[in-house]
Every structure is written in C-alpha cells, then in structure tokens.
Symmetry: C2
C-alpha cells in the first residue's frame, strides 16, 4: 500500500485536515465520536505520523518500563496502580515485566528496556545488578528504584521506599513488650535490601532489649508462601519452640498461618504472630491479635509516579537523586 | 547533538559495526557483556536504528496492549502473567492499563492503543463498547477477548474464557444437593458477560430443581468486596434469611466471609457458602465446607498468549475467530 497522505485520511474520516492534526497532536477540542472516526481512518490507511513516528521526532517514547519480581504479586501491582494513576494523565504508558527474583533475568529485561528506549525505568530490584544499573544510569537512563534500594558503585539514583529497618525494629519491640524472648524469625531474601534491612531492624531491637540472638531461630523463608509453611514446620519440631513468630512479608505470614491452622494451633494462644505487611486473610481469624507493619504500596506508587514526572516533565534530569522514605506504621488486628 | 553513525557507536563500544548490527537485530551470538556495552553506547550517542525505528520499518511494534478492569486485581494479573510467559520469548512486550470498570475510560484506552499501534489488544472488557470494538476490529485491529465475552454487531473476534453459565449451574446444584432452597445470590456486574452468565447458570439449576426464583434474594454486589459485605447485611436482616449464599466472584465472597465472621456467624453451621472463584483466605476457616469454582486464570493467560501468537506469528490474521472455552471445575474446601 502506498503511503497515505493527511488529505486521504481526512477524506476517509470525512473531516478537515486540521481536525486530523488536532486529534493526532491532542490539541484543541474534538468530540469523542470524531476522534474515533479519525483514529480508525488513520489505522485503516496506515497513516504514519502516529505515536511511534512522533516519538522519534520528539525523541521520547512516552513509555515507562517497570521491572518487578512478579506482575501477579498484588503488593507490587498495587504500587504499579499508584504509578499508573499518576503518570497516565501525562500520556505515559507502562510496560511491565517479571524478573522472577532472578538477577540474570532482570539484567536481560533492563537491557531490553534500553532497546525499547523507555523514558524511565521503575525498578523493584532482585539485587545483584548493581554494576549494570550504575553503568546504565551513567549512560543517561533514568532509574527510579521502588520498595527495594541498591548500593550502587557511583552516584545514587532515585529511591522511593519504606524505612524497613525501623519498621522491623518497631515490630520486634511489640513482641518483646508482650513478653516474648524466644522468637522464630522468618527471613525474606537476604540478597534484597528489604530482606536484609528487616533482619537488621529485628537484631537491633532484640539486642537493645539485652537478649542474645541465636541463629537456630532464623529460617530462610525466601519471601514465599511455601517458605512460611516450611518455617513453621521447622520451628514446631524444635526442642524449645518459639512462643512467637516474626515474619518478614505477607506471603510468608499467610503460609505460616495456613500451616499453624492446619496443625490445630491457636493464634495467639499457642503462638503469637508479628508480620511485616498486613495479611488481609487473617481478619477471618477471631482475636488473633496479630501485630503488623501496615505497608502502603499504593502510596509508594503515587510517590514513584511523582518522581517520574519530576524527572521527565519538570526538566529535573540532572538534579540530585530523590530519596523519599516512608515511615512505617505498626497496627494490631483486633476482631 | 548531530545524529550518530553506526561507526561512531562501534568506536564508542570498542567493537565492529557488524557486532552493532548483530546486537540490534538480535541475530548471531554476542556475549552479554558486549551486548551491554553496545546498548550503552547506542544510548549514549542516541543512535537511531533502535526498536522504535525498526518497528516503523517492520510496521510492527512488538507491543501488545492489555486493557483490563484493574492492574492490581490478582485474578486479572494472573491471567497477564500467563500471557507474559508465552509472548515474552517471541519478543513481545505488554502495555497495561486499568479501565476501572468504566466503559468511557475503556473506550479512551482502546483509542490510545490504536495511537500506540500495538500489534494486538487483549481485552477483559467492562462491556458497553461493542460498537467501538466492532469498528476497530473491522479496521484491522486484532482483538483477543479474555475472560469476558462481547456480543458484537458484526464478525466475532477471538475469545478465551470460561463457561460461566455451566460453572454457576454446577455450583448451584451443589447447594441444592445439600438441601438448600432459600439461597441468597450475590450478583456481579450485570453489564459484563461473566456477571450475566453466572446468574443465568444459577437460574437454570434453580428452576430445573422445580424451585421458584424470588428477586428479593438477589443482591447486586458489583464484583467488589464491599458489595459482598453489604449483601450479607441485607440478607441477615430479612424475615426469612437464606440458609446459603451463592457469590459470583472471589472478592464478594471474601467480603461476605468477613461480614459473617465479624457478626459471629459460623460457616457452614449458620450459613453455607458457594463461591465462583476460590478464596484462598477461607483456608484459614476450619471445616467451612465452602464449595467453589476453581478458576484457572494462569491457564486462561497461557491460552490468550497462544492465540496472540497464532495471530501475529503464524500468519493467521484473517482466519476464523478463535473460541477457546475452559470448562470449570467444582471443588470443596475441607480442612
């Protein structure tokens, strides 16, 4: 098919060429009905000044790449929902990919984002790609780290996250206040900042209280539901089982609750629970008294979105790295 | 900055121009380290034969638009995860947007997908845009409807969904077999095929069993958790409350369970529950005996991904519409 001209498109849609321009440049009022007719004509005739052609001219793709562990994980997707709600009205679109907590897969996806020429990359990192991120950032790629930080060799990049050390510190103090001294810790991924920082916060509260940490009471739950289940099986068979569990994300907490319930254990009668992140399902347990860090993923997403706009719309390409850290709030389930 | 040539990029990366081509066209072996260096040089010098420029030449963007009610809803995102896992290795990327169950917002998003020249649109529709979808489809835009069907004026488009009528029919029969005749129905959105079809399936089973449907026992729960809570409040204040609830999605079921638990009701002692879609949280309730349709969102996503590839990779652009309907499976929670 020969290349269509704007006149042919106007004829096909039954409107003026000025209207075609208005629609394609989103300038001036055009009714939805007419817009629709124009876009169908543009598509039918394969008319070129489309988003792709224009993005070449503007050297902007209006696309933001989002690389996160798993697009079916509600915690991360609630962050993304906040991000979407902020950037959508500025005409940006989101490409998502799952890294599956695999550093090699994450590295491939980041390279691909360069290929796609996204305007910015929002990254909830699996860790392990510090060098790559530093090099890409030095080459001009705009990074916004979300939820998980990275210790980069070189200048810092934007970060929107929670104070995980403090959250875990306050959470642990609640268990200590309740009189617990034998606490089973269900750790997340220790290669990820949130996994590390939460453990650090626990250690701080525990040693501050004059107690001695024993490695036998740590279990590596890898941030997964099955990890939480396995941790409970491990702790229950100990000669001196813990009187409380401290779980460092909601998936592991849910797994632990399932395993405890199936084993006929009462919460908190037999064992108390503290969770980094709310487990909505726990509201079905009566008087469980679970204490938890009330995470705000939607708020994180809103803040990440604002940081993206700050970089892409406000001409702040080269200003100092943003560091926006939310202070976590501790809550208790009472029902 | 003047346009960079391939030679300048090769010099910057310290490789041959042939290597640059190999990397940009993903042809032939190049080590990750070199690939990485090349992409950084391409980016630094703003070299143009990038994905966008090539997609213009190929008239393909390798992007698939996904329009669904809410990107933070795990059911839909699990579908998307299946889709991602199938299409990613063919080089396709996914742009997601949330329609919020608003037909007007969905219409805007669909127009925008035309603008972005996505190769296909995967749509979990809110309903109400039948004319627009039919026109876009006639203009050559490849649609794959997922989970929710549309009654289009004109030729059908591809559909990957469940047999909702049959699922709800079998689910209702379970409650009837248990001896229930006063059943409170928590309906979803009636403007969406899944909402309609599930109600139709219930009516079929109910009338087949010789029982008479009373509209007073239907509550419009709008597929939301708060809708499920409200439905329970409504049913509990009836002079003759239902002995069983039939809820048409997992969010409404979860809301209903929360409201019942908070009101001290025992499940199934006081009231039995049947749910279209599993509620994982219900596994925390002992012996609840909840019957449910075991939905398979990941499988739906895999099938949708295969349909996308069938259209975009197998040269099946103009063959008959695909109709891939999963038969639902009924399960019972025993713990």
């Amino acid at each position: 098919m020969a290349k269509a001209t704007i006149k042919q498109v106007a004829a096909e849609a039954g409107v003026s060429t000025a209207t075609i321009s208005r629609v394609l440049n989103s300038s001036g009022y055009v009714s939805d009905e007419v817009k629709n007719r124009v876009m169908l004509a543009v598509n039918k005739l394969q008319y070129q000044p489309n988003a792709i052609a224009r993005s070449l001219k503007q050297d902007k793709s209006f696309t933001i790449g989002v690389v996160l562990p798993d697009i079916s994980n509600p915690f991360f997707m609630t962050i993304c929902r906040g991000l979407e709600d902020v950037v959508q009205e500025y005409g940006y679109h989101l490409i998502f990919c799952s890294s599956d907590e695999l550093p090699e897969k994450e590295a491939q996806l980041l390279q691909l984002m360069t290929e796609k020429r996204v305007d910015a990359v929002v990254l909830a990192t699996t860790g392990g790609n510090e060098d790559l991120v530093a090099r890409m950032s030095a080459a001009g790629i705009q990074f916004i780290l979300v939820d998980r930080s990275l210790d980069l060799p070189g200048p810092a990049v934007d970060l929107v996250a929670e104070d995980d050390v403090n959250g875990a510190y306050e959470l642990t103090k609640q268990l200590i206040l309740q009189g617990h001294s034998v606490i089973g810790v269900i750790n997340g991924c220790m290669g990820v900042s949130t996994g590390q920082d939460r453990f650090v916060g626990y250690l701080k509260a525990f040693t501050e209280a004059g107690m001695e940490h024993e490695a036998a009471y740590d279990y590596d739950g890898k941030f997964t539901e099955s990890g939480g289940r396995e941790a409970v099986r491990y702790f229950l068979q100990m000669a001196k089982p813990p009187t409380a569990l401290l779980s460092f994300n909601n998936k592991m907490t849910f797994g632990a609750l399932l395993e405890l319930t199936e084993n006929g254990r009462d919460i908190p009668g037999d064992i108390a629970i503290a969770s980094y992140g709310e487990v909505e399902a726990a509201r079905l347990l009566k008087r469980s008294g679970i204490v938890y860090v009330d995470q705000k993923p939607y708020e994180l997403g809103i803040k990440a979105g604002r940081t993206v706009l700050h970089r892409l719309e406000k001409g702040a390409e080269s200003s100092e790295a943003v560091r926006d850290i939310l202070q976590p709030i501790i809550k208790k389930l009472e029902s």
